[in-house]
Structure formats: C-alpha cells, structure tokens
C-alpha cells in the first residue's frame, strides 16, 4: 500500500519521531504475527497514553486510513495484521501496571502489559492473572482481551473474559468510553462482555481492570503414558464424565511428543503413542485424592505409566515440553498450519481417528497437541509452502477437519480467534442473517469500517489468496 507521507508526518507530530515507523525495513517486522498470514501496514504508531490513541484515531479518520491495534504480535489468526494496510497501532509502550489492589484482588493495567509480568508482579501475594496462553511470556493483556485468549489452565479457571471486569476504550470515532469497573454487576448491558473477544474490531482498548486469582495451595502434575491414542482420548472422556475437573488436561500424540522431546527433553517416552499432561490443584486435602482419582482413570484405560512430578523443577520441565511444542514442530517443517477447532469432549476418540484418516487420505502427517480437557483441538498440518499444490491441499485438508468438528456440534475456533484466517469458515456456523446482524453490531461502533477491516466476517475472497510465509523456528508459540 502507498504510504501517505502527510499522515506519517502528522503522526510524528503527535507521537514524536521515535513514535512512528514507516521505512520499508521497519515495516517488514510488522507484516506478520504468529499465524500463516502476511499483511503490511502503511506505518506503525506507538501511543503512550489514551490521549495518543485518540489522536491516532482522529488522524486515521481524517485520512480515511484503516487502523489496527496490536500487542506483541503473537496472535494465531492474523487479528493484529493490517489486512488492508493503514496505521498499525502497537501498544508496547503502554505497558504500565496502573494499580494493584491485593486485598480486593484487582489490577488495572495498560494493554501493553505482558501477561506473565502481571502474574509476576503479584506472585509475592500468592496471586496471579489466570489466563495463561502458551505465549504468556510475550503476549500482552490487551491482545488477550481482544482475542479472549485461553490457555492450558482455562479448563478450571476460565478464559480471559471471565477475568476482565472493566475497560477504558477508544472507539473508532474517537470517543472514549469506560465500561464495567472494579465493583461487580454494573447496571446496564454487559458492554465489557461484548468488547472482550471482539478481535479489535469494535474499539482500541487503553485500560483494563482485571481480577487476580489466588495461586493454589497445592499442585500435582501427572504425566500419563499410553500405547494407543484411543486409550488416551477415552481417558479424557472418562475423566470428564466422572466430574473430575483437573486444572489442566493436555494431550500430545506420539508424533508431536517425539518432536518435542528432541527439542526440549521433557522426558516424554519416545515409543509411546500419546501422553496426557494432567494437573490438579487446590487444597492439599483435595489434591491428593484428585490425583489418585485421575491416576486410577488413566490406569483403567491402560496407561502404561502414570508419573507424578516430584518437584517444581520436574513440573516446569513437563510444562516446558507442552508450551514449547510449536517451536519444536517448527524445527521439522518450514511451514505448518495449526487449527483451533473445538468439539464436545464425548467426541474426542472418534474425532482423533477421523483426523488421522483425513490426513492419511490427503498424504499429510498430522500432529496433535491440544487442550484435551476442553475439547479444543490443535491439529498441526505440515506442508511445504514452496509447493502451491501442496499448500492448497493442506488448506482443503484443514477444512475437512473443521467440517467434521462442526458436524459433531463443535466450533471453528476455541481461543485463537477468527481474524483473517477463518473468516471464510464463518458461514459454516452462522447463517447469512446471523452474520449480517453481527456485522451491524460492528458497524454500530465502527461506522466507517476503519478499525481492523477485513476481520471475522467473510470478505468473499477465496482461500487461494491466503499468503503464506515460512514460520520462524525459535519463539514460535501457540495455544
């Protein structure tokens, strides 16, 4: 897209010269996120305050230029990419924790605060910010809010929306609105509930009031090793049906765990068909029993071994294996495509069999590493981006998997967002009238369509237009 020099100069006057990037080399860094999508902004702006954001919004309106919010750029659906160019508004300099109220378990943060930094800031008081995406060392709370991010521990603790009480936002018209607040049950419509997870299409968020959650008194992490994928998935079905809610229940299949083991050395047995990484937490008195119950169910479904992490170091190592899995996969293939479908947990065994069958039929090896306890799948399809035919086949294979998720009552995305990656799949879940209505909600807040255009709603462009870039090996994070 042509760079509007006049706009860049106006932004520089607003934010200072070090507050704007517009050279080709600089912009290259901002044309991607954690997904397979690419889109280059016209320029990048770094606000330091709500007033700066208002200024950016006014200029974008004046120059009729799109604007897109961005945190750390770890998103997995292209939510923070400037699909139609424009001003990419990066919140990395709005990274202050504005207040922490230990007694009432609240914090007010700017959107650029890194997820894990907030948890670290309150760790001494034995509190944390519960949503824990695998990218939590890098991703920002503003990004978490936009995408309604999840993570392994959301099984017991809930996703971002369950932990946000209020926000200050700048609407794309330049109006500033405060919604919700530190006290619960704000009278009126739940605007906070609507804006969290709206993928940056309704407003730019400048302040977030969150709940802080106590760290559990006791934690036990178990690794259950299986000789068949079916046994592992049946274990998850049984754990769920028995009403045991672990804090986390993650699965890695044989292919994935071998990839991870080669990279992280977490101690996953190389000859196994699947492992479950399970965690129970809470009161000491409950955790012992829960861990025993979970281990029993695993054994009942022929786990050949159930290992309990002896100490924090072993526990951290197991989690390191899980959280760095996508980095490990990146070492094996220049490009991969991760999906985010969700299914009812009762359908796990059949769905995993189906994914395997779909992969084989289309000539792909598909790895599975996912939030089994939530039924949130992350099948990984490896392909070579240099081969357009193979890429096309990878996308159609992925679509076949998603179709299956929907056919058993599931959804196309559990935590990564629709963004510019799954917009074309939306009609599989929503009728034209339903999508039309959601679009009108967007238009009510974003009347000129300048904020994050080309997201969530199908644009009518075919998947052939999806551009692909090779994924960076190190630091790739997902799920």
């Amino acid at each position: 897209m042509q760079i509007n020099r006049e706009l860049v100069r106006a932004l520089e006057r607003l934010l200072g010269r070090d507050g704007v990037l517009s050279s080709r080399e600089d912009l290259l860094l901002y044309e991607y996120d954690g997904s397979v999508e690419v889109a280059r902004p016209q320029c990048v702006a770094f606000p330091r305050s709500t007033e700066d954001v208002i200024g950016i919004v006014r200029l974008a309106n004046q120059y009729k230029t799109p604007m897109v919010g961005r945190g750390a750029g770890t998103g997995l659906s292209g939510g923070a990419l400037a699909r139609e160019g424009g001003v990419l508004t990066v919140f990395s300099r709005m990274n202050r924790i504005l207040s922490i109220d230990i007694q009432n378990r609240r914090a007010v943060v700017q959107p650029g605060v890194v997820n894990l930094e907030l948890s670290r800031a309150v760790a001494d008081a034995r509190l944390h910010f519960a949503p824990d995406p695998s990218s939590q060392k890098a991703c920002t709370i503003g990004g978490n809010v936009s995408e309604n991010a999840g993570g392994p521990h959301t099984l017991a603790y809930g996703v971002t929306t369950n932990h946000v009480l209020g926000m200050k936002v700048v609407l794309p018209t330049g109006e500033v609105v405060s919604m919700g607040g530190a006290a619960v049950d704000t009278p009126g419509y739940d605007l906070t509930g609507l804006f969290v997870g709206s993928e940056g299409t309704l407003a730019l968020v400048t302040e977030i009031t969150v709940k802080l959650t106590p760290l559990p008194e006791s934690v036990k992490t178990l690794l259950a090793v299986f000789d068949s994928v079916d046994d592992a998935t049946e274990t998850v079905v049984d754990i769920t049906a028995r009403g045991i809610t672990p804090a986390a229940c993650e699965m890695l299949d044989g292919w994935t765990l071998r990839a991870v083991e080669a990279y992280v050395h977490a101690g996953f047995p190389l000859d196994s068909a699947a492992v479950l990484l399970l965690e129970v937490d809470g009161l000491r008195e409950s955790v012992e029993t829960q861990a025993k119950d979970v281990a029993e169910v695993c054994s009942l479904h022929h786990a050949r071994e159930v290992r309990v992490a002896r100490d924090a170091a072993e526990r951290d190592l197991l989690w390191k294996g899980r959280k760095n899995a996508f980095g490990a996969v990146g070492r094996l293939s220049p490009t991969y495509y991760v999906q985010d479908g969700v299914i009812p947990r009762t359908k796990l065994p059949a769905t995993l069999r189906r994914i395997d069958e779909i992969g084989k039929r289309n000539g792909f090896e598909i790895g599975n590493i996912f939030h089994a306890g939530d039924g949130n799948l992350h099948p990984i399809i490896l392909f070579d981006a240099r081969d357009p035919a193979q890429f096309k086949r990878a996308v159609s294979t992925a679509d076949e998997i998603i179709q299956h998720c929907i056919s058993v009552g599931g959804s196309i995305t559990g935590e990564h967002g629709v963004g510019m990656e799954k917009d074309r799949l939306m009609p599989l879940l929503f009728s034209e009238a339903e999508l039309g209505f959601m679009r009108r909600v967007r238009d009510a807040f974003n009347p000129a369509g300048l904020l994050n255009p080309g997201k969530i709603f199908p644009s009518g462009k075919g998947c052939g237009e999806t551009r692909i870039r090779p994924l960076a090996v190190e630091g790739s994070v997902a799920g």
């Binding site: 007694q103 009432n104 049950d185 009278p187 409950s286």
Partner: protein
C-alpha cells in the same frame, strides 16, 4: 383498543393457535407489569413462532414483553407500551444434554426445578440457586440477572453460558456462541442478553456448561456482636487457600425474617435453632469436598472466627443445611413479604468496602427510623432491605432519603447501586436504576440496533431503555 390492535389479535391467534392466545381480561390480569396490563397474551411453541410474533409486533409497533413464571415482573420500571405478553412457558424442552461433555441446551421457558432434576439424574447441576427457585424459569432468571449465593465459587451466569439463540426486535432469529465449553467464534452477543430484561431480544434457547454435584457439602456459621468481625472473617477466608461455595453475612434483623412464617412458606425445611440471633451479625459459608477437605474448612474457619472475636460458631452437617441455604437463596422474596413497602437496594462495592457501606446504610436508616435487614455476599454485593411499617407518604419520603444518601455513599466508595424492588407507586420517585452512567450512549446504540422500533419491553430498563 385501536383498530390496528384488533387486526393484530387475529394474527396472534393465527401464529400460535386459538388455544395458545388469549385476550380475556381476566386472564390478562396475571400478566400485568407494574400497573400496565397487555391487550393479549401469546404462548408460542417454537422459536419460529416467537420470531413471527415479534415481526408482527414490529410492523404494528406493538409493545412486547416476554415472560416466564412471572415471579420478577415487579423489578425495573413500568413499560412505556405493553400490548402483547409473550408467555414462554411452552418452550420448556431440554433441547440437548450431553452429560459426558457437561453441556446442555435448554429452551428459555423451562422451569429451573425441572431442569435441575434432569441434571440431578446425572449427578450434575447448574449453580443457579436463585430466588423464587421453585417457580422460576431459566429465561426469567437469565433475563433479570438475579444472582445466587453460589456465585462465590462458580461466578455469574455469564461465566457458564456458552451460547444462546434469541429473536431480535425485528424478528430476526439470531444466535451467538455455541455448545462447546470453549469458543471465540464471532461476537458474544449472548452476554448482552443477560440481565437485559428482554429489551434487546427474546431468548429462546440457552446453552450452559454444567457442573458435577459436589460429593458432600457442609456449612459454617459464626456470630459476632459487631459487623466488623463478620466482615473481617470474610476477608480472612478470602485471603486463605479455602474456596467455599458460598459466603454471606447477615445483619441481626435477618434472624427475625428467617424465623418467620413467611420464611417457612418460602423454604419449608426448618432453620436450625440458634443459628442466627437477633443480637448478632452472622457470617455463613457453605463448602464441599472430601472428608479431609471438609474437616479442614471447619477447622480453619473456626480458628479464623475465633481470631475475629466470634461470639459463637455452629457447624452444619449436610442434612442440616437445606433450611438455612433455602432461606439464604430466598432472602429477597422473604424480605418482600416482611413489610408492606419493602424496598431493596442492591449495592456493589469492592469486597473490603462492604463493612463501611453497610455501617453507613444502617446509620442512614436508623436516623429516620426505618427498619432494615441486610445480606452481603462475599464477592462485594449487598442487598439492603428497607422494611417500613406502612406504605404511606411518610415511609416513601424516608425511603427516598435513605436511598439518596446510600447512592451518594456508594459513589464515594467507587461502587454503584440500584433499587430492584420497591412498591410500584414509588418507582417514579426513586432512582431505580441508579445514577446515570458514562457508557449509557453505547447502550442506547445497542438498543437501537437490536430493537429499532422500540417494541421490546420499552422503558423497563436502565435509563428508559
């Protein structure tokens, strides 16, 4: 009745059938809302019929209000227009229940008791221990946003509703969310429907995440001479590793309310004698777990209560809980029947500000001599019930004074308050929906979008929405 309206009635019967519509004034009286009686009632049997009724109403600009068991119609303001009541109770099917997935879809008109019994067959439940439990429907519960003691552990309905189907004010059948426990597909429009009093849409189906019934639960009560000790105990428990199911603090007057015939009617199971006393503030908390965990709760809470200066503590075994829990759940209906002019303020403040808030509110009420009773939830919500001896001008003006003082006090403490219940004649002179809010224009925007003809429960909600 206008000529347009007459034509509309024939069409209502066309849509839902003669037997499912009524224009008989005798029957319609039961659908009255704060002095306004509709011209007709329709009992649709499907979401399509609801949509068709709304389209008809939109074309004729008829005011439409959905209702279930009609237990909470006294909340909010009187409708500006109310031509047609849409009685949702025929839409009462449990549409999809997957016990193994702990998910459920249910039609809005389903009674909560019926729903809980379906769940109980699989040892599951929904943490909706709401007032009027024995009669209320799922839709009415969600539309009015009433809360439950169980929110202490499980959060509010917004935390466990997975998706919804609803009909907008233009009669468009819409949906958002889904059936699975994790989902970020599209906007969470269903969150807007919760507590919106039917002003944005008519919910037809609601999908929930369900929960396993706890193995065993018990309860703990500690009595204190002053409110300070009771709230301090709340703070200590909140700061400990304990995660109780419920935590409520009751003012001394609640003892009288809960030991009354009114309470016995609302909750037939008896209240353990001596649990509450008219001289004491009471901290009450329920918890669940295995034997070891239950003993830990009892041991820790007893120790903490002693350190907070409790005058006495009582432990309740599982079989002794029902009477106390039922009263706690039904605090609002019990309070409403305990005075001819009960006015209940719902106050939200940060949990650590609750003692200060209750203390001030009590002082305001005492200064003008109005009887009161309070229930505070651990999460920072206080139900402050004013119980005047009569419904007269004197009582009204004293109530208005207290309400005004409380609204000012809560604003200073960074919270907010509404008056969900009061005599209908007083509604216009009291700040029912609290003070005006900065985000109101955005709410108005949504109202216009969802209901451009202003036909859905017009005027019932915040700021006349």
């Amino acid at each position: 009745m206008s000529a347009t309206a007459k034509i509309a009635w024939a069409r209502v019967a066309d849509i839902v059938g003669e037997q499912n519509s009524s224009f008989d004034p005798g029957e319609l009286a039961a659908y009255e809302i704060i002095g306004v009686t509709p011209g007709g009632v329709a009992r649709p049997g499907s979401a399509e019929e609801v949509a068709e009724l709304v389209r008809m109403a939109a074309a004729d600009r008829l005011g439409v209000i959905p209702c279930g068991a009609r237990t909470k119609l006294e909340m909010g303001m009187a409708p500006e227009r109310y031509d047609l009541a849409i009685d949702m109770t025929r839409l009462d099917r449990v549409a999809a229940y997957d016990p193994g997935d702990l998910t459920l879809g249910v039609e809005a008109g389903c009674g909560l008791v019926k729903l809980q019994s379906v769940l109980a067959d699989h040892r599951q439940f929904l943490p909706l221990a709401v007032p009027w439990l024995r009669r209320t429907t799922v839709g009415g519960t969600i539309a009015t946003g009433v809360d439950t003691p169980l929110r202490q552990l499980f959060g509010m309905a917004r935390d466990y509703i997975l998706g919804m189907e609803f009909v907008t004010g233009e009669g468009v059948a819409a949906k958002s969310g889904g059936r699975v426990v994790k989902n970020v597909t599209g906007y969470d429009l269903h969150k807007l429907m919760i507590g919106a009093f039917g002003t944005l849409g008519i919910m037809t189906k609601i999908n929930f995440r369900t929960f396993p019934l706890p193995l065993e639960s018990r309860a703990f009560v500690a009595r204190f001479d002053e409110s300070k000790g009771a709230f301090e105990l709340r703070d200590r428990v909140a700061e400990s590793a304990l995660a109780p199911l419920t935590m409520e603090i009751f003012s001394p007057q609640v003892s009288g309310l809960f030991n009354s015939d009114v309470a016995a009617r609302m909750e037939p199971k008896p209240l353990e004698p001596g649990l509450l006393s008219p001289k004491h503030w009471a901290f009450t908390s329920g918890f669940a777990g295995n034997e070891a965990a239950l003993s830990r709760y009892e041991r820790d809470m007893t120790g903490m209560a002693e350190r907070c200066g409790a005058a006495g503590v009582t432990l309740l075994a599982q079989e002794q809980i029902a009477g106390a829990f039922g009263r706690k759940r039904e605090f609002i209906p019990i309070a409403l029947e305990s005075s001819p002019a009960t006015t209940i303020l719902k106050v939200s403040v940060l949990p650590r500000k609750m003692n200060e808030m209750v203390t001030r509110a009590g002082r305001f009420a005492n200064e003008v001599g109005v009887r009161w009773a309070a229930m505070a939830r651990g999460v920072g919500v206080i139900y402050f019930a004013l119980l005047p001896e009569a419904q007269d001008e004197n009582a009204r003006s004293r109530t208005a004074t207290i309400a005004e003082q409380m609204m000012a006090a809560v604003a200073r403490l960074g919270g907010h308050a509404t008056i969900p219940w009061c005599p209908r004649e007083w509604k216009r002179s009291l700040p029912i929906w609290g003070r005006p809010r900065e985000d109101f224009p955005q709410m108005a925007k949504l109202k216009t979008l969802f209901d451009p003809n202003r036909i859905l429960a017009p005027g019932r909600f915040v700021g006349g929405l």
